[in-house]
Symmetry: C2
Subunit: 436 residues, 2 copies
Amino acid sequence: MQPMNVGLLGIGTVGGGTFTVLTRNEAEITRRAGRPIRITQVADKNTALAKQVTGGKVAVTDDAFAVAANPSIDIVVELIGGCGVAKELVMQAIANGKHVVTANKALLAVHGNEIFAAAQTRGVIVAFEAAVAGGIPIIKAVREGLTANRIEWIAGIINGTTNFILSEMRDKGISFAEALQDAKRLGYAEADPTFDVEGIDAAHKITILSALAFGIPMQFDRAHIEGISQLEADDIRYAEQLGYRIKLLGMTRRRPNGVELRVHPTLIPAKRLIANVEGVMNAVLVQGDAVGATLYYGRGAGAEPTASAVIADLVDVTRMHTADPEHRVPHLAFQPSAVQDTLVLPLSEVETSYYLRLRVEDKPGVLADITRILADQTISIDAMIQREPNEGESHTDIIILTHVTVEKNIDAAIVKIEALPVVKKKVIRLRMEALG
Amino acid sequence: MQPMNVGLLGIGTVGGGTFTVLTRNEAEITRRAGRPIRITQVADKNTALAKQVTGGKVAVTDDAFAVAANPSIDIVVELIGGCGVAKELVMQAIANGKHVVTANKALLAVHGNEIFAAAQTRGVIVAFEAAVAGGIPIIKAVREGLTANRIEWIAGIINGTTNFILSEMRDKGISFAEALQDAKRLGYAEADPTFDVEGIDAAHKITILSALAFGIPMQFDRAHIEGISQLEADDIRYAEQLGYRIKLLGMTRRRPNGVELRVHPTLIPAKRLIANVEGVMNAVLVQGDAVGATLYYGRGAGAEPTASAVIADLVDVTRMHTADPEHRVPHLAFQPSAVQDTLVLPLSEVETSYYLRLRVEDKPGVLADITRILADQTISIDAMIQREPNEGESHTDIIILTHVTVEKNIDAAIVKIEALPVVKKKVIRLRMEALG
């Protein structure tokens, strides 16, 4: 059969990996796809690099729009990233009737509704397995593997940089700053790590998963995002003593009156499989009403793991492109006409349990005042540690684990607790998920 | 749109679960599939049960062939099991131009080549996600999610009964017989547990995965199958001391001159995520050259978890059935024309590392004799334990872990070792996999 001609936009790490794997495994991939899949044109500002990577076997240009408009190109792979020119190029390619494969989580989380609507109208496929959890086929699992289920929630370790940092902080008992340095030295963190460490990258990914799981629009602007840069080694140690690990989780949960969509450091029971996902590895836990919990684990980043997902999409498009659009797998798991505009709930309405660390004077009655405040907010206590003050100190830490409650109750309790004269610092509040 | 009409053959545990979930989640499933999927006819010898389960809303018959021939049925779901009438019914349904969904691992492992050839000729889909690892979408992951990869090996905990028994033996230090009784009491083992405990069920499943991973025919008859009924609590304890867990693994590995296909109790490093899959849970670890290792975890059995996979197939067929067969996802991941008849290697050619337990007289020179024999077979030792004899005993255990070698070398060494007068019992030999 005729080969599928692919135009590659951006030949950095993932683009290079995609070219390498497509070339190395061409025979194997053709055996699966039924026809060769070939990168026939590459656009990159750095044409010298593009020529070097492709060994002069492929047409190279610095004009990405020329690729998006090239009549001989069947599929455009967008690996430029960001919401600027990448968006124009994707919209152009769609307008030109090309199928699109992208790893651009930011673009889809922020502009996905517009992009998928355009693809629907034009009858082309926009595939994005590489946008969430790198090489783990989690998009396919949620969109096609779990279609029998009413999905209840998804919890994911979907940012390798922060998972590496948290693993280092726990293993070595070091601070966030020290662990971040290690991550930079090993190439796991970028010079400006804000997107990763502040949870924005994870929020893009969990936003995409929430749309797939519940059949709702992308609502990145309503996601609650909290990173790990403020996390202290003490809290990781206390969590450990209580039988928990702290992970940066992307969480999305179905609730009667809306959907929870949040990213924050989260205590999870150490005995859970997902609590033992260490280093740069990713894992996504999906709770369905029929199947129960299923877990998907693997590399969430890197040249070839991400290329694995990009190429899986190329094979999917090659297999599916002749099907009438009515009978293709819908982009976001649900038929476009069946999407419901269920809203993401404000953080104050989130229901979960909490870890509180209080710095208090070591004197009688302190605990009574605090537990009274919690009781007044109908918050019940699940576990507590009160440490003896260190030698020569008059202040100590109290750690409290609560049962499930509403965020606004905790907010109110914390305001009252911080008003107590015996409480010497801002209360440290972390969220907990049983994932049971 | 018109509903898809499904004929259900067999309404036992999984059939009942399929009816329940399809009914309960009809709205959600229709939002995904684009049209309702309805069971309109059920065949079961026990028509009373069928009427009770379906609440009289569905036509019931005791003639399964009538369903396979019913012109109003689009998809036939075969949940009878076994290779007898189930095979006739599947072949009939295919001949009648119906798409087929089956959970029948034995049927596919033994007669899959014939069945998929017939489906190909007739242009119908035979879907079987439920045949391997229950609710875990592992077929889809291997067939569609990892298509970029040259798959190197797959290792799976794909039988919940045996994993439960092994977990019990380890947790409670009890014998196989005692753990089996617990499994029976809890309904995790059947009255005749042979299929599960002797590894036959796992062998059916890994046979199917080997075909999907490597693009080869089903070769169940060439699989090496060893169950857990002979496993002793002592070996589980010794393995633990050495940092390993014993699991019943289904293994299939690509080798230059063939494919390994085997099921046996296997020592795996306790620190691996898959080593911590306990109870009835299943997990499959897939090694691809681009993505590296990915793991898939969930419930491998039970009414609704298995129904989850059956219904995912129904949705897939509903989404895909109008596509021209040339451009559907191939049944076995590779295009039928691209299947290679690579053979499964004989066990003597398998390469892995080994755990050996020797019962020996506690006297000087014993170890020298044994290590000499191993050296002569070019087997190098990775670790060893020699226990002190128990009070008043003159015999003791020596445990040896070897580096990777060829099975036939171990066979030869064991023959020589057992011939030593100081060796008092048959040597216990278990295989090990690093899965790294």
